[in-house]
C-alpha cells in the first residue's frame, strides 16, 4: 500500500468537505493510505504570491519540509495547492541560490528544505500508483452512457515546466480517467480555457463571463456534466451558475462533479454517503443516468 501525506489546504476543509470525503473514500478503496500531517498551513497561493513572492515560496517550502520529515510524498486535491507546492518544490530543487535564500528564512523555524520528495495531484496518484488498467478492473458500476466534459483548469497543467502533470496544450490524464470509468469524455470548444476563478472577488463580472462560456460550450457539446479536479474551478462553475442566473437572466443547469465523486460512483459507493446535496446545481440527472 502506497502512503502519502494528504495536503488539504484551505478551501477544501473550509468550504468543500464533501470533496475531501469522496477523495478519501476513493483513494482508500484503491489501496492508497493517506496520512494527515500536523502543523501544515495554507500553501500560499496567488493572493499571497501577489503580496510577496519570497514569502509564498518560503511558506510552500515549509509545508514540503513537513512531508520530508515524515518521509512521505505529498498528494493534493486542489490544483492551487498543487501548483504552489509543486512549482516551489521543483523551482528550489533546480536553483541552489534560491534554495539557500529560502533556507535562510526557514532556519527561523528550524527547518531546511532538502528537495527529497515529490508533490503530486491525486490524478497522478491514480494513474501512476493505481494505474488505468487496474482502475478499470475495480469499476463495479460502469458509467457507460454518461457524457462528461473534462475540465482541467489551469494550475494542474501550467506552468508545465515546473509541474509536469501532462501536456499543457493536449492533456489526456483526466479524459483517460473518465473513460476508465466507462463514461464518454466529450470534446467541447475552448476546453482548456480558464474558469475565471481567481478573478472572483476582484472582478466578479469578468470571472462570470469566463465561467459562463465554459457552461455554454459544454452544454452545446451535449455533456451531462462537467468534471473538475480543483475546488476553485468547482466553485466558479457550480456556485457560478447561481450567480449567472441572476446576472444574465438565463437558466443554467449543468451539474458539476469533482472527479473523485464520479470515481466513487463507479466504485459502487452509495451517493447517500457522498453528501452531494451540498452542490448548488443538483446532480440528480447524473445520478439517474448512472444508478
Amino acid at each position: 500500500m502506497k502512503r502519502y501525506a494528504l495536503f488539504l489546504g484551505c478551501t477544501i476543509p473550509a468550504r468543500q468537505p464533501n470533496y475531501e470525503l469522496s477523495a478519501r473514500k476513493a483513494l482508500t478503496k484503491l489501496g492508497i493510505e493517506l496520512v494527515d500531517l500536523a502543523e501544515t498551513t495554507c500553501c500560499a497561493p496567488p493572493p499571497i504570491r501577489s503580496i510577496d513572492l519570497e514569502t509564498s515560496l518560503a511558506v510552500a517550502a515549509y509545508n514540503i519540509c513537513l512531508a520530508e520529515e515524515a518521509g512521505l510524498d505529498l498528494v493534493t486535491l486542489c490544483s492551487g495547492c498543487f501548483e504552489s507546492l509543486s512549482a516551489a518544490n521543483n523551482m528550489l530543487k533546480g536553483n541552489e541560490h534560491l534554495k539557500k535564500r529560502i533556507n535562510r528564512v526557514l532556519s527561523e523555524v528550524g527547518k531546511e528544505f532538502l528537495g527529497s520528495r515529490r508533490v503530486k495531484h491525486y490524478l497522478q496518484v491514480l494513474v501512476e500508483d493505481v494505474g488505468i488498467e487496474r482502475l478499470k478492473r475495480k469499476v463495479s458500476r460502469s458509467l457507460s452512457g454518461l457524457r462528461a466534459a473534462a475540465f482541467y483548469g489551469c494550475h494542474a497543467l501550467r506552468p508545465s515546466g515546473l509541474l509536469g502533470l501532462d501536456d499543457p496544450e493536449r492533456p489526456r490524464i483526466l479524459d483517460d480517467l473518465i473513460e476508465a470509468l466507462g463514461a464518454e469524455s466529450v470534446e467541447y470548444r475552448n476546453k482548456l480555457k480558464c474558469c475565471g476563478g481567481l478573478l472572483r472577488g476582484y472582478s466578479d463580472e469578468l470571472a462570470l463571463d469566463l465561467a459562463r462560456e465554459k457552461i455554454i460550450n459544454a452544454s452545446k457539446a451535449g455533456a451531462d456534466c462537467i468534471v473538475t479536479l480543483c475546488p476553485f474551478c468547482f466553485v466558479a462553475l457550480d456556485m457560478g451558475q447561481l450567480q449567472m442566473r441572476s446576472r444574465y437572466k438565463e437558466a443554467y443547469d449543468m451539474p458539476i462533479l469533482h472527479y473523485s465523486e464520479l470515481l466513487c460512483l463507479a466504485l459502487g459507493v452509495d451517493p447517500e454517503e457522498l453528501a452531494v446535496q451540498t452542490h448548488k446545481v443538483k446532480i440528480d440527472k447524473v445520478l439517474d443516468k448512472v444508478l
Partner: protein, 171 residues
C-alpha cells in the same frame, strides 16, 4: 526604507527594477510579438487588460501607470501566455513582481488583504468555521490537525511580510 523606494533612489530604471526582483527577471526578453495577448482569456473579453501592453508600458518605464493601474490585478493567472511565449518571458511571474511592487506602495485589492489577514490569524486564507469543523465527524471525516500558525508567523516576520501587511492595515 522600502525596497521599491530604495531602488527608485538608486536610480534604477523601471525595467531594471522589475528585472532585479524575484519573478521579474525575464521581463527584458520581450520583443512584443503579442503571442501572450492572443492566448489571454481575459484580453478576449475586456480592453482593460492586455499582457503585451502591460509589459510594453513597463519596459517604457511608465511606472506609475503600471503600478497604480487596474490592469495588473486583472490577470487570471492561467499561465497560457507564459507557456506559449517564444522568448520565455515568465509573464505571469512578472505580473506577480509588479503586484509585489504595488503592494509595497500601498496598493492592493481589499480581497487580498482579507486573505492575508486570515492567513496571519489562522494559518489558512479561508477560515474553517466551528460549524464546518464539527460537521466533519458526522460526515465520517477525521478531525483537522492544528495548523502551524506559530511557525508561519515567524516565517512571515523573517520575510518582512508581517511588517508590510501591518503598514497596509494602518493606511
Amino acid at each position: 526604507m522600502e525596497r521599491a523606494e530604495r531602488e527608485k533612489a538608486a536610480g534604477l530604471s523601471f525595467p531594471e527594477e522589475v528585472a532585479s526582483r524575484l519573478g521579474g527577471e525575464t521581463i527584458k526578453l520581450c520583443y512584443q510579438c503579442g503571442t501572450c495577448a492572443s492566448s489571454c482569456p481575459v484580453a478576449k473579453i475586456t480592453p482593460k487588460f492586455n499582457p503585451r501592453e502591460l509589459i510594453k508600458l513597463s519596459l517604457l518605464g511608465e511606472r506609475d501607470e503600471v503600478i497604480s493601474g487596474d490592469a495588473i490585478w486583472l490577470c487570471c493567472s492561467c499561465y497560457n501566455c507564459q507557456e506559449r511565449c517564444p522568448q520565455k518571458v515568465e509573464i505571469a511571474e512578472v505580473i506577480y513582481a509588479l503586484r509585489n511592487i504595488a503592494f509595497e506602495e500601498g496598493r492592493i485589492p481589499q480581497i487580498y488583504l482579507e486573505f492575508a489577514s486570515a492567513l496571519l490569524r489562522d494559518g489558512r486564507i479561508i477560515k474553517v468555521s466551528k460549524f464546518v469543523e464539527k460537521r466533519r465527524s458526522t460526515l465520517g471525516l477525521p478531525p483537522l490537525k492544528p495548523t502551524g500558525v506559530e511557525a508561519l508567523t515567524r516565517i512571515l516576520s523573517a520575510t518582512g511580510f508581517n511588517k508590510l501587511y501591518e503598514r497596509r492595515e494602518q493606511k
